[in-house]
Symmetry: C2
Subunit: 505 residues, 2 copies
């Protein structure tokens, strides 16, 4: 492990920060609930995935070997047109003309990957799909039935929550629901859900209605797995019956994550997760985002500026930096001002980084308090990350070091005030945090590329005019000199009928 400090994680299960002790170090198993791919990924989801990307990055940075599983929920609830009868009339036409849910799944999975890529989120070790694990889900239903925690009604299978609530005390820990409150509900509370024996019961296998397109054969019916089941089946398959970290958005705590716990107890006899982590919500101008009222922005709208809420577009790295400025367990509020501040902060940090890498120590050392202060801030940056991955704290400490870097550059702070060891440490810590832990890309270098092309063209127009001026003045020496310099730089000016233009050579 790179840093001796203890990493603490806020565990939603105990509601406390606990010292992180992996079940089987240096291996760590981490499961994060991924997107549902029936529409464009929401900015709030992006925040969750960036938060856990940073958890993954930091654990890896500390030297752990993390198997990171993030699923794709592609078992949706699309229904076909029951009345068309196309399949019966002209069966050979039916297949291609029908809505194929997997086309929608593919489209939005691709879009999701593109957004994650823009945000520089590392791809998970495994990205399993719900449709890809129907066998495993059916096996889990069988195990739950065999252990007496489920019952079948008319081809659907339900989880028997009443039994679990009476026998075990794990349910409700995550969401803070009280078992007594849950048990007090009766069949009268079921309303139209006639097949369930108890209001807290939930479906683990659903018999498909005739119009339901996505369906698979099972021992109980042609149907599809209940929503909660996929995460239990896939986390167990790839991480084992008990694993270290399970993450997701706060909105998934109940019922999704509670029901995952229930299913795992039902199938395997034990609760699956040692540390439950939940990311908080993202708001827009102080209010919850909502598609129905239009009070929302999609990631690409935020990047391009093509929206009615923000004054301009903000790059993916500015969005990422903006997210880093808050702890993942705090709500975060998108506003134009906050994004502009993040843009400045991001550029300031990248500029400081470049400056820092260019600094060379003179060798002379007359250490002052500056040296100690810098080291303290670097320690505190790690302490921030060790405090439940508090990126806001870590970022704040690095920000304190930035004026020192700039002062050294400007000569206001003599290089000799800090030791060579400290300078080298600053270089390493800034590099490790900015790129490895925070996962930022230097857009001033590799990004802004279209801009580069435009700028290059602008600047070349200036040079073309200067050349023209020299030629108008019959200053052939200046004109030739410019031509040679441009040639050496990799550019050539070409004269044509419609004036001069330039090409790369």
């Amino acid at each position: 492990m790179n840093q001796p400090n203890e990493l603490k994680i806020y565990n939603s299960l105990s509601k406390e920060k606990e010292v992180f002790k992996p079940i089987n170090a240096p291996h760590i198993g981490m499961y994060v609930c991924g997107p549902t791919v029936y529409n464009e990924v929401h900015l709030g989801n992006c925040r969750t995935f960036v938060s856990f990307d940073i958890v993954y990055r930091y654990l890896t940075h500390l030297g752990y070997k993390v198997r990171y599983v993030r699923n794709i929920t592609d078992v949706g609830h699309l229904v076909g047109d029951v009345d068309s009868g196309a399949e019966d009339k002209i069966s050979k036409r039916a297949r291609l003309e029908k809505l194929e849910p997997m086309e929608i799944v593919q489209k939005y999975t691709n879009l999701f990957h593109r957004v994650m890529n823009k945000l520089n989120a590392i791809e998970p070790s495994i990205e399993p799909t719900a449709t890809g694990h129907i066998v495993e889900q059916i096996e889990m239903v069988k195990a739950i039935l065999a252990n007496g925690y489920g019952y079948e009604v008319n081809g659907s299978v339900y989880f028997d929550m009443e039994k679990l609530l009476k026998e075990r005390d794990e349910y409700g820990q995550l969401s803070g629901k009280k078992v007594e409150d849950l048990l007090v509900e009766t069949r009268d509370d079921l309303k139209n859900q006639d097949e369930k024996r108890h209001p807290s019961d939930f479906a683990i296998w659903v018999k498909a209605a005739p119009s339901h397109i996505m369906r698979w054969p099972s021992p109980w019916s042609d149907g599809f797995p209940g929503w909660h089941l996929e995460c239990s089946a896939m986390s167990t398959k790839y991480l084992g019956e008990q694993f270290d970290i399970h993450g997701g958005g706060m909105d998934l705590q109940f019922p999704h994550h509670e029901n995952e716990v229930a299913q795992n107890i039902g199938a395997c006899g034990c609760a699956p997760v040692k540390y439950w982590m939940h990311g908080n919500m993202l708001e827009l101008e102080g209010r919850k985002m909502s598609k129905s009222t239009g009070h929302t922005i999609f990631p690409d709208e935020l990047f391009s500026g093509d929206n009615n809420i923000l004054s301009k577009g903000y790059s993916p790295m500015v969005l990422r930096f903006f997210m880093l400025q808050a702890h993942y367990r705090s709500t975060l509020n998108i506003t134009d001002d906050a994004l502009q501040a993040a843009e400045k902060g991001y550029l300031r940090m990248l500029e400081a980084y470049q400056t820092l890498q260019g600094l060379e120590h003179s060798g002379e050392e007359n250490l002052t308090a500056d040296d100690q202060q810098i080291n303290k801030m670097l320690d505190l940056a790690y302490a921030g990350m060790n405090d439940d991955f508090n990126t806001a704290l870590a970022l704040g400490k690095l920000n304190v070091v930035i004026p020192k870097i700039n002062s050294i550059k400007n000569g206001r702070l003599p290089m000799s005030n800090i030791s060579k060891v400290t300078l080298d440490r600053m270089k390493k810590v800034f590099h490790d945090f900015i790129f490895d832990v925070f996962g930022l890309l230097d857009e001033t270098q590799v990004g802004g590329q279209e801009e580069d092309h435009d700028l290059l063209d602008n600047v070349m127009q200036i040079l073309i005019e200067m050349r023209q001026e020299a030629r108008n003045n019959k200053d052939w020496a200046a004109s030739d000199k410019l031509r040679d310099a441009l040639q050496a730089a990799g550019v050539q000016i070409k004269d044509g009928k419609e004036g001069a233009s330039w090409v790369k050579i």
Copy 2:
């Protein structure tokens, strides 16, 4: 349909070019055998996928609605370490320390997508995985058994080829194998494959050895599907029992595609595919590529130039253009010279395109043979594509038009020689072919971006020197003028301790 000419496709089944008549126009179902994701994608595979990308693009260009399915083969044959016994000793450790095939699958699937993306191949409508369709494959085995075309031995299930060969005449059509030759083989030819009744039989479900990691429960054993089965199951699921086009590399004709036909007959009673298309091989310096002898290049090695065979790197679009220069059914030989020629050809075409878009018709028309000749070449470009997607022919015809474009630009060919209608048609056809049909990107515009950054820096150094010179000469007017011009262009020169530098503003 955009073009009235008949599209002809060489059908590997009939060994003839046939007029393309979709089963259910405008819908087209197309299935292409995708990569096996247990290692890096091979350049030969890339050629196949680019070829079918162009088939997909051209069909779409003609106005068809294509459902394009290309699978990911991820049921591999990795085996675990049987002797470790880890699972028994310390079961909680086992899962994370074990080799997890799906991690390998994920890694190479991601790499494959990255390469396809670089080559600007359009993502298929659906990209199903073999592991994601175990249920469907088990159902197909059941159907084959129910129809009497399979038999079970010790938990494995085999396809009964002898029965098929005696009852039906479809088998062998693709590969040209003679039924009599196949039937004449006897049990003596089986060697160690004791479970098979006949040498031509093949496994459709395989009982897993204890050391085999990837395994699923089935009615016959814990095991995995036979290799050929996934394509039959997934094409049937997404395209129906009979669909239009099935593509793949020539090496898949036998036994893979023949066995797909056998399985579909066994399960559904009919051969699945109307037009079978097979792409030819890619050679390197006249010889077959081979990993074992090192006579091979991976895509990224070709792009970067990091290899011992080529003199430099070639961009993805140069590789794509290179592939277009041959018909997909011809072998294609990678050599340094050929790639250099492709690079020139690619740049020449893109430059002509840019020139063409800048041309404006004068309105005056004194038509000459040029007008007719150009139209003829554009017709022939379509005719080339209609002739079994012959990109080499189509490209050749457009190449004939390029000197005309350049002559118009240089004034050697008067604009009035061709009609405005012809000029507009040229613009449209060049645009449609280059970007939509051939799928080329203009790397001189959107690509080469790192280059832009470097060039911009080079050119800015020239301007910084010019400014310094002006200042040395106390020519403040020139220095200020340059500063203002740069400011307007979006760039600012900054003076610092270590000389001047520039930043974007």
